[in-house]
């Protein structure tokens, strides 16, 4: 039996599940509305209307993509257990890692489509506002970085969904996502603290927490046409991919140990 058959079947099924959920379209519609609101906000600025539109558009894509990732991702495995559909999967020749990876890949592919759709809508809006403006390829790079961040958020959500209720998973995932953007502050707090114990605590937390602040920083650099060093991009890519693999491995270990009464 092919190793990829169960993986592909579960991924396709998860993709189908997500795209058939009407909530997804509500989120995307909301993203479109906020992007269009960028035209209004841009008109209030002095000669920076396209910059405002781009900034707001990209932030909206990152936020809405992350929110979809969190709300769908946190119930990804939990829903299978709660609705007992997992009995029908795990009594077929499916390894637990194939189950976890299939669920993750299905949602990741769905979010790729969603991110691309929202990105195209942003480009279309920019073109409608100023047909002579050439959309920078750096915008595409920014979108890829956003997608990378969304993949990371989905991995956190998947991990929590293997053992926590959706509500708790949402809280934990949002918590980690926010901390990930503020992780440099932990380091600064460690330097500022007068207590050696507290400094060590913040420093340890810094090394364990995911660092997403650089992704955002580079995204803004790209919007302002500042091309980052390829080494830095490669480092960030490796960092996020390694973190995702670690989270999926942990998710598999949790699922492996689990019983299904």
């Amino acid at each position: 039996m092919k190793l990829t058959a169960p993986l592909a079947a579960i991924a396709i099924n998860t993709f189908r599940e997500t795209v058939r959920d009407r909530v997804l379209y509500a989120f995307v519609f909301f993203a479109f509305l906020v992007t269009l609101a960028g035209i209004l906000l841009g008109s209030l600025s002095v000669g920076q209307d396209l910059r405002v539109l781009e900034d707001l558009g990209l932030t909206t894509i990152a936020f809405i993509g992350g929110i979809i990732g969190i709300f769908v991702g946190t119930s990804l495995v939990y829903k299978e257990i709660d609705r007992r559909t997992i009995y029908l999967i795990l009594t077929k020749p499916v390894a637990r890692w194939q189950f976890v990876a299939g669920k993750y890949l299905g949602l990741a592919f769905c979010l790729l489509v969603v991110t691309a759709a929202m990105g195209l809508f942003l480009c279309g809006t920019i073109y409608l506002c100023s047909p002579e403006h050439v959309v920078s390829p750096l915008l595409g790079e920014s979108l890829l970085l956003i997608y990378l961040e969304i993949l990371f958020v989905v991995a956190i959500a998947t991990f929590f969904s293997t053992f926590a209720t959706p509500l708790m998973s949402v809280v934990f995932t949002i918590g980690l996502w926010v901390i990930g953007h503020m992780v440099q502050s932990l380091r600064e707090l460690a330097h500022l603290s007068r207590s050696a114990g507290v400094a060590r605590l913040f420093d340890t937390l810094y090394w364990f927490m995911p660092d997403l602040s650089r992704l955002t920083q580079i995204r803004f650099d790209l919007v302002y046409a500042r091309q980052p060093e390829p080494e830095l991009i490669f480092y960030l890519l490796s960092y996020v991919v390694a973190y995702i693999l670690l989270l999926l491995t942990l998710s598999t270990l949790v699922t492996e140990r689990r019983e299904f009464p």
Partner: protein
Amino acid sequence: MTTPVIEAEELGKDHISHFLRKRFTAVDRLNLQVMRSETYGLLGLNGAGKTTTLKLMLGLLRPTRGRVSVLGYPAGHRRALGRIGFLPENPYFYSYLTGREFLDFAGQIFGLPGAERRKRVQALLKMVSLTEAAGTAIRKYSKGMMQRLGIAQSLINDPEIIFWDEPTSGLDPIGRRDVRLILLSLKEQGKTIFFNSHLLPDVSEVCDRVGVLHRGVLVGEERMANITGGGGHYRNLEDYFLDCINRAEEDGKAVPKAG
């Protein structure tokens, strides 16, 4: 009928309650063998441990004591899972899929090639009388239709062993008759069938052998021919079942296994 394809040795399972961490035994000292091509019915009252036993055999639960193997592999081994079919009690499906899509998904998991999968799905839909409803979303299915879809998905890989948990529960008389006919047809094909039920008339019609589980202990095991055939101690399966339960309750222990 000489090769055991399902074997449980001194199998036991304890559950621990979440709140007070209290331990209780769901299955205890279960010794059981099911031969190839045999139809075995595991009977018991609600909460007797039938579903737990089935889940132990499928690897959804891990034994606390003893061991269980299916087709020579430890329970839950992927090689064994590739050759069995399972119908859970009151099966739930993905409500956003249609019946046909779900069966196709089940076929994909087993790695069946496209053409073969389509053929198999079509044949199974016909067998369980769901051809007309194949394109309808599962959320619109009645309980009987869900049960029939569950039966179809358990047969998608043409399994050697079929594990069915309460296959006739919640079905109307016609639905129960249809399931019985499917069981008899699978039996004719030489499949090994292991199923749980507390609906005794269904069991007596199709089983070669039955086991009675009471409070997690196998309190009786007998060939159907010895129960329903002439010259035996029992009028029918119900008589045998009640006798096993009553003796176990009176003795406070399992009755010796027969047959």
